[in-house]
């Protein structure tokens, strides 16, 4: 058995092909999203009867007259065929764009979503700032909810019917039913305003500036958001564990003489976690695109709040930017979940 020592890699061409196929699918999906987003903001108003000048009027002050609007619409390219406009939109995102605003040309580096109507700032750098906040919030909360949600679910499943199980599932039911603007305000009023233990909301310090301050500002939003999602994870994990622990292969693992802890973690949890991984990827992707309610409740300057402000002010470039970025996060989260799935479950690789 000379071949015993050499470990055969698990069919690299199949794995590679799987990765490439998923990547292509993700790119295609991004293309579709960009078309739909562009269509919503530039094509549908036309269908509703808006002229090129009407579109241009969103870019200039209310005092502009007909002639000025026509000049503006021409500069923005609203008289060009739609596919040319779409091409320009995508080119701006991929390569950057030059804006000819009268005497000077302004360079908007890639990815260019244009300039805010209100603040005149380019959208992308603002978005990056907001992403840092939302990213800090989402990742911190994710760590908490996975740790607590999954471990609570496992313990509940292993001690099904115990007092711990009942209390945990009761709390989890409360967690999934209570909206964050309620739990958020409650925790704020208790921990910030009465006990002065946490930041009162509305403040954010970048981690690069002061990590302790960063955590202090975010700890309450993390816990509140994590509680909401951990509750769902606890219930899911409990159901998954109860199902897997009844599988035949768990009995086989016990028949081998494995210690119970190994049976639970290596054989039970490994299988029960597969659906959790899927949902985790989607939840995280969704949150990275903006945790609207959490950010609003705690007045955090993140993507969600940015999106709301943009919509309220009818600030088109910002809405476009936030939509595209949010969609990108979800698509990439899906991609990562798909790839992870193949790592976790060998049966997926062949299909």
């Amino acid at each position: 058995m000379a071949g015993g020592a050499t470990r055969r890699p698990p069919r690299p061409n199949i794995v590679l092909r799987y990765v490439i196929r998923r990547l292509l699918a993700a790119v295609l999906l991004l293309f579709v999203v960009s078309v739909v987003t562009f269509g919503i903001f530039f094509y549908i108003p036309r269908l509703a009867g808006a002229s090129a000048e009407d579109l241009a009027s969103r870019y200039v002050g209310k005092t502009a007259n007909e002639a000025q609007l026509r000049v503006m619409a021409d500069k923005l390219g609203f008289y060009d065929p739609l596919y040319v406009q779409y091409g320009r939109f995508v080119k701006g995102i991929v390569l950057g764009a030059n804006y000819n605003t009268g005497p000077t040309t302004v360079r908007c580096p890639a990815p260019c979503f244009g300039y805010s109507f209100i603040t005149q700032n380019p959208v992308w750098p603002d978005l990056v700032d907001r992403m840092r906040v939302t990213g800090s919030l989402a990742v911190g909360a994710a760590i908490i909810w996975v740790l607590f949600g999954v471990s609570t679910g496992v313990l509940s499943a292993l001690r099904k019917g115990s007092i711990f199980d009942r209390m945990a599932m009761g709390t989890a039911l409360a967690g999934v039913s209570l909206p964050i603007f309620w739990t958020g305000l409650l925790t704020l009023s208790i921990f910030s305003y009465r006990m002065h233990l946490t930041a009162p909301g509305g403040s954010y310090t970048p981690i690069t500036e002061n990590p302790a301050e960063w955590a202090y500002d975010l700890i309450l939003p993390w816990i509140t958001l994590a509680f909401l999602i951990a509750a769902a994870y606890a219930r899911l994990t409990r159901a998954g564990m109860l199902e897997t622990m009844g599988e035949d292969y768990i009995r086989t693992a016990r028949a081998k003489g494995l210690p119970e802890r190994t049976v639970v973690v290596k054989h039970g949890l490994r299988a029960a976690l597969t659906p959790i991984t899927t949902i985790f990827g989607l939840d995280l992707g969704l949150l990275l695109g903006g945790a609207v309610l959490t950010e609003s409740t705690f007045s955090l300057p993140g993507m969600g709040k940015y999106a709301i402000d943009a919509i309220v002010n009818n600030d088109l470039p910002k809405v476009l930017g936030v939509t595209m970025v949010g969609a990108t996060f979800i698509i990439f989260a899906n991609l990562i979940v798909d790839l992870l799935y193949a790592v976790i479950d060998p049966r997926v690789r062949l299909s």
Partner: protein, 352 residues
């Protein structure tokens, strides 16, 4: 094989046989009542011998085997009686003691190899795991051992297939791999729970041959659990017929096939298809369905389905029949032995 530490105290009444089960009861409390899956079962087995436990679904045969393996421990089951394995009592032993015996001294092959193997781990990894719990060896050594085992159970290109996952194996190959896994620690007791039920007929004989060859090679005691009398005819030295959680007939395979005495055994034999029988002859099914294990019929649990119940005023509905102690051929039936033999010769044998 290194000697196992004798953790349990050996008692004065310890049996001399390798495996001895005495008065085993396995009861499960449920909301509907107490399920008496196994209710007072005794049997013994020597090394190098094969015992076939036969019965319908729900007769308690699988529960008995899981009890020997200690797989009911820690659950809701109430177990009483004695299980002696090589001079060590297992029912009263603590979980850790039995766990260390599991997979090493006694191993089990399960019915459906697809659902019994973890879908996320390669065949090799699962065998390596089984070996390394009981042997402190490196992964490379365990892996070589796994490849040797796969080779021994007849898997072609074992060095390659060791990396495959269960879903990449055919049903028969999977059961071979399952057997390799069970044999990884040279168990002295091998329990095969319906090892061929989930397999194609063509593969069944191969697997049975393999089990028999391996038994000769390793010298283990084998318990084969099945509802298929053809399987025990192939393998077993002794046969133990269970019905409703109790033993109804016990004897050597030769005796049981040539001179069965319990009406339930007759029913099992009558409902077994045979190649040497005329195709126009109908199989004779056992009427009715297996009893509820919560409320067993009074007296002999088989009486509602027995064509000879209350024959000549015997108390089938009131008195529980017993196997009889020390007999080589035990029959738990109220019909007097001469009458049983006569009934078999006149009523049953002509139709088999």
């Amino acid at each position: 094989m290194t000697a196992l530490p004798q953790l349990a105290v050996t008692r004065a009444d310890a049996p001399t046989r390798f495996l001895e089960v005495r008065g085993l009861r396995v009861h499960f409390p449920t909301d509907d009542g107490l399920v008496k899956s196994v209710d007072g079962v005794s049997f013994g087995l020597e090394r190098r011998r094969t015992l076939g436990i036969v019965g319908e679904s729900g007769s308690g045969k699988s529960v008995t085997s899981l009890a020997i393996m200690g797989l009911h421990k820690g659950g809701s089951a109430r177990i009483s009686g004695e299980i002696w394995l090589d001079g060590q009592e297992l029912v009263a032993a603590d979980q850790e003691t039995v766990r260390l015996l599991r997979g090493r001294k006694m191993a089990m092959i399960f019915q459906d190899p697809l659902s019994s193997m973890h879908p996320y781990y390669s065949i090799g990894a699962q065998i390596v795991e089984a070996y390394r719990i009981h042997h402190n060896v490196s992964k490379q050594v365990a892996r070589r051992h796994a490849i040797e085992l796969l080779d021994r159970v007849g898997i072609p290109q074992p060095a390659k297939r060791v990396n495959d996952y269960p879903h990449q194996f055919s049903g028969g190959m999977r059961q071979r791999a399952m057997i390799a896994m069970a044999l990884s620690n040279n168990p002295e007791l091998l329990i095969a729970d319906e090892p061929t039920t989930a397999l194609d007929v063509t593969v069944q004989a191969q697997i049975l041959d393999l089990i028999r060859d391996l038994q000769e090679e390793y010298g283990s005691a084998v318990i084969i659990i099945t509802h298929d009398l053809g399987v025990v005819a192939e393998l077993a030295d002794d046969i133990f017929v269970m019905y409703g959680g109790k033993a109804v007939e016990y004897g050597t395979a030769a005796d049981l096939f040539a001179r069965p005495e319990h009406p339930y055994t007759w029913g099992l034999l009558g409902s077994m298809p045979r190649m040497d029988r005329d195709v126009r002859d109908r199989l004779i099914p056992i009427k009715g369905s297996p009893p509820s294990l919560i409320t067993l019929p009074s007296g002999c649990a088989f009486h509602p389905r027995c064509p000879y119940a209350e024959l000549d005023g015997i108390p089938c509905k009131t008195v529980v029949p017993t196997l009889g102690e020390g007999d080589r051929h035990g029959v738990a039936c109220h019909i007097p032995p001469p009458k049983r033999r006569e009934l078999f010769a006149t009523d049953i044998a002509p139709h088999l």
